[in-house]
């Protein structure tokens, strides 16, 4: 686990996006810039395919696009705070917090365990609100890397 799940470059504090596709793309571009995703279009297609199976919006203003993809090199999380909201298909309205989870296609168990731990944290209201209220990108990355510990 040399690479942390998230770094400050993977956090977008004031994301403006017309729809979930644009929001997802903005976060994907962060991952590409950080060298964690090799092919933005290819990965985006994988995320869209997953999103088409079942919308990933959750109650509480959460969007959770994710995919396992061969274009991903390191298990990664990108976080976007969207003050204006963007629809992710949740029953109770648009998402103000978007988590993009990228998993390598052939990920070994250690990779996947950290993502499992992340998913478990996401359920907790306290975790989500601490991310919403964090003063800066560095703090968001710190919170995630501190709280997400594989079991």
């Amino acid at each position: 686990m040399a690479e942390p799940l998230i770094t400050p470059e993977l956090v977008a504090l004031d994301l403006v996006a017309a729809d979930r596709d644009a929001a997802t793309r903005a976060l994907i571009d962060l991952m590409v810039a950080a060298g964690r995703v090799t092919d933005a279009d290819g990965f985006h297609a994988d995320v869209r395919a997953r999103e088409a199976q079942m919308a990933t919006g959750m109650p509480g203003g959460i969007g959770l696009p994710h995919a396992r993809s061969e274009h991903v090199t390191v298990p990664s999380l990108a976080v976007g705070r969207v003050p204006g909201g963007v629809d992710f298909g949740a029953p109770d309205g648009p998402a103000t917090l978007v988590f993009l989870i990228a998993a390598p296609a052939g990920g070994d168990a250690d990779h996947l365990k950290i993502l499992a731990a992340l998913a478990r944290r996401l359920v907790h209201e306290s975790f989500r609100s601490s991310i919403l209220q964090a003063p800066g990108a560095g703090e968001v990355a710190d919170i995630v890397n501190r709280e997400v510990v594989p079991q």
Binding site: M54, R68, I101, A109, R120, V123
Partner: protein, 528 residues
């Protein structure tokens, strides 16, 4: 309350774990306890059997097929899907609580309590049996659908042709004018059979008589036969599936199809299933370069595993297994008189010993898988099926009978169980007798076994065959000799019921009994 849950989702990285966490938290918040098995991409750690044993109910928050569902058999469950568990876990927990409260009585509770005993020690034998049982449990629906359709075809055939209908119905498709019955059918339905032509399936379809019992009989027989054709492939394919998960399916099915084609029967199918499964599992575990990994599941594994299983099935496994299968068929067919009755007694004893446990399953598997070798309900394998089914119906019926004849010998709850035992017995659910056997195994089980032996032996002596693998009383019309079939069951029921009453009368204080027999009653779940 205590719950166990299984979560899974299409990608296996997010919702699986969110659902798990959400359920655990929501259960805690509501004062319950929930342990979740996450069947996600990170691999799943099976629930401790002791945890399953202690659980009151099961929650399926799974969008994929639940792996190892048989572990939870008999427990009240709710099936909500992964999304509901993530979005509204409190509601899911509430549903599970009411499901437990709604279903907290009688047979299911006893069975559920005892079920996990078998999985506690996962030795090689247990695992192999588990693989085999998975294969059998997936095979049964094919046998049930196909067998009942075939039997209905015979029934209609008898209506359409009279006495020989059950034989004629098998001859129509592919038949020529050489067979007088086929010629008569062709003439009646406007099919031209001059110049030695035979009735192709398409010809049959073009000249289908919508109001002809004969046409319908042939159609039912044909469709049933098509379903029956999956018997060996499905057995093989799902054994491989149990071992290697999805990668096992293709080589398993192909191996099974070849096993059937070379005449190696269900025994061959079992061998190809294990071969395909372990082969696929082995290939799955190869360390391959990253670039190749993506094509492993879609190209490499199916290609290699199928190639090797298929070639071995044709050349190496096929011939000897065909010899074994033929030998067994010949042995069963040649068996007459005393030895046939003896076999009936043995399968009867096995069916009634552990009521759904390992021995019962061995006898049942022997019978159902043997149906692959049966065409008519008078064939010997179908007769064995008849004996097994009849004997398996005895314990609940005998227990129910005893509660009616001597209600005072039984506790209030046993008398209640007795009422449902009638229905369970008639439906060939041996597990219906578990509430009685679990409470007083020393008296009940030998009584059941004697009754089962009587019924099994009589059924073999009467030659009562049935192609349906399940159904009990409700498939009686499909038995070749329905009255003798019922007579065999009734005889065993009366003998067994009388023994139960006698045994119970010797000392009538069931409350002081130890439940020491419960260990041998392992795997009481009915995963047929």
């Amino acid at each position: 309350m205590k719950f166990v849950a299984v979560s899974s989702c299409p990608t296996g990285i997010a919702h699986t774990y969110m659902a798990a966490e959400a359920l655990e938290q929501a259960a805690k918040a509501a004062g319950h306890e929930c342990t979740v098995e996450t069947q996600g991409a990170a691999g799943s750690t099976p629930l401790d059997p002791a945890v399953i044993a202690a659980a009151d109910g099961v929650i399926y928050a799974a969008d994929l097929e639940v792996q190892g569902k048989d572990r939870f058999a008999g427990k009240p469950s709710v099936d909500v899907g992964v999304k509901a568990a993530v979005h509204d876990p409190a509601k899911v927990i509430a549903q599970a609580v009411s499901a437990v409260e709604a279903k907290g009585s009688g047979a299911s509770k006893v069975a559920a309590a005892a079920a996990p005993v078998a999985t506690r020690h996962v030795g090689v034998g247990t695992r192999i049996r588990k693989y085999l049982m998975t294969g059998v449990s997936y095979m049964i629906p094919f046998v049930a659908g196909g067998g009942i359709l075939i039997a209905l075809g015979f029934l209609l055939g008898t209506a359409g042709w009279g006495k020989d209908g059950a034989i004629v119905v098998t001859k129509i498709i592919g038949g020529t004018a050489d067979n007088p019955s086929v010629a008569a059918y062709a003439a009646a339905h406007g099919i031209d059979l001059s110049n030695g032509a035979s009735i192709a399936l398409t010809t049959f379809a073009q000249h289908f008589g919508w109001f002809s019992a004969q046409s319908w009989a042939v159609a039912l027989f044909y469709v049933g036969g098509a379903a029956f054709g999956f018997l060996v492939p499905a057995l093989s394919g799902y054994i491989a599936f149990a071992i290697a998960d999805r990668p096992g399916i293709v080589p398993g099915f192909v191996g099974g199809t070849i096993a059937a084609a070379v005449g190696a029967g269900f025994l061959g199918g079992i061998v190809t299933g294990f071969l395909a499964g372990f082969l696929a599992l082995w290939i799955v575990r190869w360390k391959v370069p990253k670039g190749v990994r993506g094509v492993m599941p879609v190209v490499v594994i199916p290609l290699l595993a199928t190639l090797i299983t298929g070639v071995l099935a044709v050349i190496v496994i096929g011939p000897p297994m065909k010899a074994v299968n033929d030998g067994m068929k010949a042995w069963l067919t040649g068996m007459s008189g005393t030895s046939a009755v003896l076999l009936g007694i043995i399968v009867g004893l096995m069916m009634c010993f552990d009521l759904g446990g390992p021995l019962n399953k061995v006898a049942y598997t022997f019978a159902t898988a043997g149906l692959a070798n049966a065409v008519l309900s008078t064939d010997r394998p179908a007769v064995i099926m008849g004996a097994v089914m009849a004997a398996g119906m005895v314990p609940p019926l005998a227990a129910a009978l005893a509660t009616v004849v001597r209600p005072k010998l039984f506790s209030e709850s046993e008398r209640e169980s007795g009422k449902s035992a009638w229905l369970l017995g008639l439906s060939f659910i041996s597990e219906g007798a578990i509430p009685f056997a679990a409470g007083d195994p020393i008296r009940m089980i030998p009584s059941f076994m004697v009754g089962g032996a009587v019924t099994g032996g009589l059924a073999m002596a009467f030659n009562t065959g049935v192609l349906a693998p399940h159904g009990g009383f409700w498939v009686t019309p499909l038995v070749n000799q329905p009255f003798l079939f019922l007579l065999a069951i009734a005889a065993g029921m009366v003998v067994s019921g009388a023994l139960v009453i006698v045994a119970k009368s010797i000392r009538r204080n069931p409350d002081e009994e130890e439940v020491e027999g419960i260990e041998s009653l392992s795997a009481l779940t009915g995963s047929r």
